[in-house]
Symmetry: C2
């Protein structure tokens, strides 16, 4: 197999690849919103067609209790490892829509970037992998055995993925997972993630009066549910930025000196980080660097809050209820179930008797840590080094990719997190984008990675 | 003038009065929402037509920079006092709409009550006064001189009323104001309000990152604006339920022992109060009774809060901003301008440097206290006693009627707060209602009050 020929093919077909990528981005496959169910189906069909074009011998859209899984196989490389490619074709909602500078599904290109919901997370990464396969397909048989699991519910916490893996375990057997839902540190600084944070996501509702009351007639005589919710949230952190839930840090695997030293070598500065956020200042748990705070420490964030009158003008209401979405990012070896118990214990202790509260669980998943010394990890690092011309560094990722823990538990394999998103792509927010030169280097990296296994 | 004949007339025309009242309630004259501007105009026209039918000699719809004022006069009772009737024909928004058991503008009657937005606050009270005038009109000349000021912006804080009074001072000259935007304690316990709380209403926005961020990638490294907003709100009260803004209580006129004893005689219990709210328990400033907390003590309530993802499901966003509507109820002699300064001082002291904040002022107005011993107050008390067959008691009102302070300042007259809302009418919330037997007693009370001046 001639990798250089495959890479030339990619360079010659760049414009066509780009227009296929934009076609994929135009499908608003938002898994959170029921009105987009048919778009989810369209995105799955678009992918299945793409896999067939690349020469996969079995391509199926398999049902689950939710969004379907796109599965495909090519198993004609005896003696070679089997790589299970994981990705997701669903995307986050687009609100606040008025903050987008262009239609989130028009995939506008400005200054080397493509702006669209899902551009970076993660239709761009799947598209890059498809292009690498099409390029390899022209060079004879694929260098490895391939399997695909492309799901449509990652953004809602993959609620049916464990059941799917359980049912189709034989179709998913592999030596390693290539998880494309990943990124690198910077266009000139490749990196590879070896640890991921887990997630525990909750919704808390505080109820006071049976109905909204007039704040003049009743204000001062009953507890305002918004006040109580704010007090409960305010109490969830101490002055050192530590989470106060009882036992929250008990299971946390502390960093050792060697790993801290390695993390500190990352080509990264607080000034850059601050510039990416646009916030007036950085802030976090006392005693840890920014990169440690997001990669190796568990955190708690309120993702949304609402209650009372939120329209224009002034309405003097004392509301009946107030709610918040509260999620924790977990590190090894915290268990989502334990976090749920800790949050309930906190609420039982601190909620005053003049209100009632209910706690709902949304998605959750444990964190994960991978072996930095496996042959697959080394192949990925080598491919990155060759294509980007710089030494990749190992990185802990603050986000959650629950499927990584699931694959470890259910298939007994590690995942190689190889994808080409950038930290300032604005995923989940308005004006999400993908840096195109980085994406096309990604196509070449996939070619070299698969070719060297 | 024969009051009994007028009262018989009311009893004979009850069904017609009721259908006119429902016609008035069917007009969605919501002053907060720009899309209801034409409904505001329709409500003003409905009132003007009603006043003409009652025999007012001058009826005009006078423009302001906002909603028009309905003005009317009848000045043919030489030697008699001039009563300026004040009311408002605008209503609050209806959200949350899904908690209404019937259309808020269909004015459904169930179990002696009429359910509609504005039924109690205060279209019912204006309608009752109109019916009393129609009944009196059949008995010869009116017993007093009458003027009317019916505005359409009370629910948004009467932003153009002071200018209107300034321009039309000569058309509003009077000996006393009859302010119908009022209520009584219970159907069998008439009361009359002699003190009102003022209002200072603000909107606070806290901004962190420039755009919404992924809570996994950035969570733990920057301050979450929702957390900061919650901490700021949580800090606005201490453990004794006192407001912590610097200097908040400095100007408060404290209750003396005599007034506290009088307030304590009100036919009222904490159990009733609790039942009206449906909350699990009462709560307020340590050292004061419930009736003192709502009538004689200043308070702070968050009326609304919002930020981040508030839709269905789970979105892992670290939001760029969070906002709250925050209002204070003031008592004599607190000044709204001082409160604004205190809130700004609090925010300057407590807001952390990793966020920015902006504070907007909405409506505001001072509290007011009236002379309990004037002849007008005595006439109102006598009318209530006769119609309800029970001794009325004096009451402090927790709500705000800023026009009362304005009339004191600009026209030099006290207001008699005579209206027939009940504390559990649910004004400003879903399923607002008016108790009809009380309303028709109100019509009779107005007849006796005006007849005895």
């Amino acid at each position: 197999m001639n990798e250089m020929t495959a890479i030339s093919f990619v360079r010659q077909n760049r414009e066509r690849f780009l227009s296929e990528y934009r076609e994929f981005l135009a499908i608003p496959s938002i898994s959170t919103l029921p009105e987009h169910t048919s778009d989810i189906q369209r995105a799955a069909e678009w992918l299945a067609a793409g896999l067939r074009r690349c020469g996969m011998t079995e391509v199926e859209i398999l049902p689950t209790a939710g969004a379907p899984v796109v599965h495909a196989e090519w198993l004609n490389a005896p003696g070679k490892p089997t790589v299970l490619v994981y990705g997701h074709y669903d995307v986050q909602p687009v609100d606040p829509l008025d903050e987008w500078h262009s239609d989130p599904f028009a995939a506008e290109i400005r200054d080397d970037c493509i702006y669209a919901r899902g551009a970076s997370d993660m239709k761009g990464q799947i598209a890059a992998l498809l292009f690498s396969l099409e390029a390899l397909a022209g060079q004879g048989p694929f260098p490895v055995n391939l399997r695909f699991l492309l799901e449509g519910e990652e953004e809602i916490g993959s609620p049916h993925l464990a059941a799917f893996i359980g049912t189709h375990r034989d179709r998913l057997a592999c030596d390693v997972v290539l998880n494309c839902d990943a990124g690198i540190h910077a266009p000139d600084h490749p990196s590879i993630v070896y640890a991921l944070r887990g997630l525990a996501y909750f919704e808390l509702e505080v109820r006071g009066p049976q109905k909204d009351l007039h704040s003049g007639m009743f204000g001062g005589s009953i507890r305002n549910p918004i006040h109580v919710l704010c007090e409960l949230i305010a109490g969830m952190h101490d002055a050192q930025g530590r989470v106060t839930l009882p036992g929250f840090y008990d299971a946390v695997r502390e960093l050792d000196a060697e790993e801290r030293a390695q993390l500190a070598r990352a080509p990264y500065s607080d000034a850059q980080w601050l510039a990416m956020t646009g916030a007036p200042g950085l802030f976090g748990e006392t005693g840890y660097s920014t990169i440690e705070r997001v990669g190796a420490r568990p955190t708690l964030d309120v993702n949304g809050i609402w209650g009372g009158f939120t329209g224009q003008g002034a309405k003097t209401v004392l509301p009946a209820r107030a709610s918040a979405k509260i999620s924790m990012r977990l590190v090894a070896d915290q268990k989502p179930e334990d976090i749920h118990g800790q949050l309930e214990a906190y609420l039982r202790t601190h909620a005053p008797k003049e209100i009632t509260w209910t706690l709902r669980r949304h998605s959750s998943g444990p964190g994960a840590i991978m072996d930095r010394h496996s042959p697959y990890m080394r192949a990925a690092v080598d491919a990155l080094r060759t294509v980007f011309g710089a030494e990749p560094f190992f990185k802990r990722e603050g986000g959650s990719v629950p499927v990584v823990g699931l694959m470890q538990q259910m298939l007994g394999v590690d995942s190689i997190m190889l994808g080409f998103a950038l930290p300032d792509d604005g995923i989940h927010g308005p004006n999400e984008r993908q840096h195109l030169p980085t994406l096309f280097k990604g196509v070449e990296t996939y070619i070299r990675f698969l070719g060297s296994l």
